[in-house]
Symmetry: C2
């Protein structure tokens, strides 16, 4: 093995979550480990009709522009404009192969090896993987119930740290479940302008709210914010349609890097995504349906956890998204708990998978979207048994 | 603009071809500039039926494995096994977002900044862009009618150069049209083993042969060869399905990098590609049809060029693929010729677009697959007029 290859393998170590997903794909295991929408709530028939329509003309089989099929860029720009002080031009939207590709291209555009980036702790593992590939220096800022602790970020900056970018999952954080408060959004944007860093506002979950919508995006407060989102959680992951919305200079550089990365996305799946996103009444009804159903599941999970674990665990109030984060007050090691849980045919992701260095040994992440309420209750019963077996 | 961003923009300068494609997308221009299959020869109805079938079950809407939908990896492995001494295991196949992504991921896995790579001269521009993004040191080896001049590669190696990889488009070269001879395939493989470099055998065009199939792949001669191909030229670009076939250690590293790059490909388009590639009788008939039609077009173009330009140009005998390469013996500057041609509503790519440094000023590339014979003849007539206007 070459030296470069060996170094890459060490630096990148496979995402613990993805490896776990392979193990827990057995049909007898209830997996709350993934981050998957329920296929039954994916609008498969509507996608089928739309794909059929797209494939009735030849525009759906050819290469498309590197920055994306223009009709989709227009729809995304319209939707991104809603919560902003000024309309977003379609030229400021680049369609990517899921929002993960947006993260990856941004890292290639913005980061040299050794560059400083700030992530939330616990962090979205896909972001960590990208920043490690870029050989960035990763600093962390903790989260509390109001999202990223911007006062801690300010301390870092005051101490002389000069990050190139700060990554935040602003709505219904993965894995932590929390949402950045409106006040802190303004604060984060002001810090970005004062210190000249880019904010990557990574927002795949913002549409999946239960009680009410999240505050205006961080991007509404400053042009130093690059917003990322995708259709993976609200339409279907297999369309592989995500996007970034950024200032023109960033879009131009991302487009150049994307030429080398994959030439362009799929004109077929981009047309399907555009049709569904542009159909306002249908989309509103679809979102209402998945919000209601995922909200029921979140409540079913929370109630079951409260009934079984009581004060033993500290669970974040879930206002949307896909995840619930539990912290054990009794010192339970969630790595050990996982082994006992898998024996009882239930799986989750232990907290250390989301740690930048070490930590979160007494926490875990549960996904409540893939399974219905009864299955979630059964999963919590099995988890309770596993916990009891350890103590 | 940040320093990194500015440096990236300078290093990456947009592909001249892609910029040109934007200009020549006007309906009044006959463009021989692209590298596009004819949408009328894309099996759109079959893709439509297959997409419809895939979307009748929920496996086509979810995330898939990072290395690709296993059914597709199996089909590709079977096809890759045909011309090799031993069967290829599906674990040695990684499905990518077009073969361009395979190139890009391999560069991330194998190259540090400053690493030496060898490309053919003239070169596939997508490879150049990837190697420039990786900040590699790019050396060149010329092509002649038998493909890469392996004796010149041997001279480079004997002089002490130690490339990490050598990139070759072995069949129906883009832009040069030539095919690597069987003897040189063996020679290239032997050099790879002796000097320890990787060969990237980039083969999107191998199935599009006219007189007879190309020789056995370079990969049949050595395990130091990583083979790349895709369905873009034979099925449809919008499926965005390509692959690499490589030793296990390379596949493992590529899979890790792909997790960060985009998590996974589309389970929908991968299932469609798998169904069509696995349907042997249908695929054979489809390939026969496109070989016959593209062969007719290649002949129509060659004949028209010979009739109009005679000894003024030196044209490669075209045995397959999508491109014809013309060299002007009268000193015509093809950059100047392009300006005169666009005035007459015909477009091509001037040779310098494929130069690593400088050169090919008297050459140009014509694509013969996108347009029918009559349009190709009209294009050559306009090109002849443009040439006459210059002289």
């Amino acid at each position: 093995m070459s030296l470069v290859l060996a170094r890459r393998m060490r630096a990148l170590r496979s995402s613990a979550i993805r490896d776990l997903l392979t193990v827990t794909a057995r049909p007898d295991v209830i997996s709350l480990a993934g981050g998957l929408p329920d296929p039954e709530l994916v609008p498969r028939e509507r996608i089928r009709e739309s794909a059929d329509r797209a494939l009735s003309t030849s525009g759906s089989v050819q290469y498309t522009e590197t920055a994306g099929w223009f009709g989709l860029r227009e729809v995304v720009a319209d939707r991104e404009s809603v919560a902003r002080p000024t309309a977003v031009d379609p030229q400021r939207v680049v369609i990517t192969h899921g929002s993960q590709q947006a993260l990856s291209l941004l890292a290639q555009v913005l980061l040299d090896p050794g560059a400083t980036v700030v992530v939330e702790e616990p962090a979205y593992t896909g972001a960590l993987q990208v920043f490690r590939t870029a050989e960035a220096r990763v600093l962390t800022v903790p989260l509390d119930a109001d999202g990223m602790c911007t006062d801690r970020l300010e301390e870092l900056l005051a101490s002389g740290e000069r990050p190139v970018l700060v990554h935040t999952v602003s709505n219904f954080h993965n894995p932590r479940g929390v949402t950045l408060s409106s006040v802190r959004r303004g604060r984060l944007a002001a810090l970005a302008e004062r210190y000249g860093f880019w904010v990557i506002e990574d927002d795949p979950y913002g549409e999946i709210w239960f009680g009410g919508p999240p505050p205006q995006p961080v991007a509404a407060h400053s042009d130093r914010v690059i917003r990322l989102s995708s259709v993976s959680k609200v339409l279907a992951p297999s369309l592989r349609v995500g996007w970034l919305c950024a200032p023109a200079e960033i879009c131009a550089a991302v487009e150049l890097v994307k030429q080398g990365a994959d030439l362009c996305g799929s004109s077929l799946t981009q047309q399907v995504a555009a049709e569904l996103l542009a159909d306002g009444p249908w989309l509103a009804a679809h979102l209402t349906r998945i919000r209601a159903e995922y909200g029921l599941r979140a409540t079913a999970l929370s109630d079951a956890v409260a009934a079984r674990f009581g004060d033993t665990v500290d669970a974040t109030a879930v206002g949307g998204g896909m995840f619930s984060w539990l912290g054990f007050r009794d010192g339970t090691d969630t790595g050990r708990l996982l082994a006992a849980a898998v024996e009882r045919q239930v799986a989750f992701v232990p907290g250390p998978a989301f740690a930048v260095d070490d930590g979160h040994r007494h926490s875990l992440r549960l996904c409540f979207t893939t399974n219905g309420p009864d299955t979630l209750r059964e999963a919590v019963a099995r988890l309770g048994d596993a916990h009891q077996a350890l103590t």
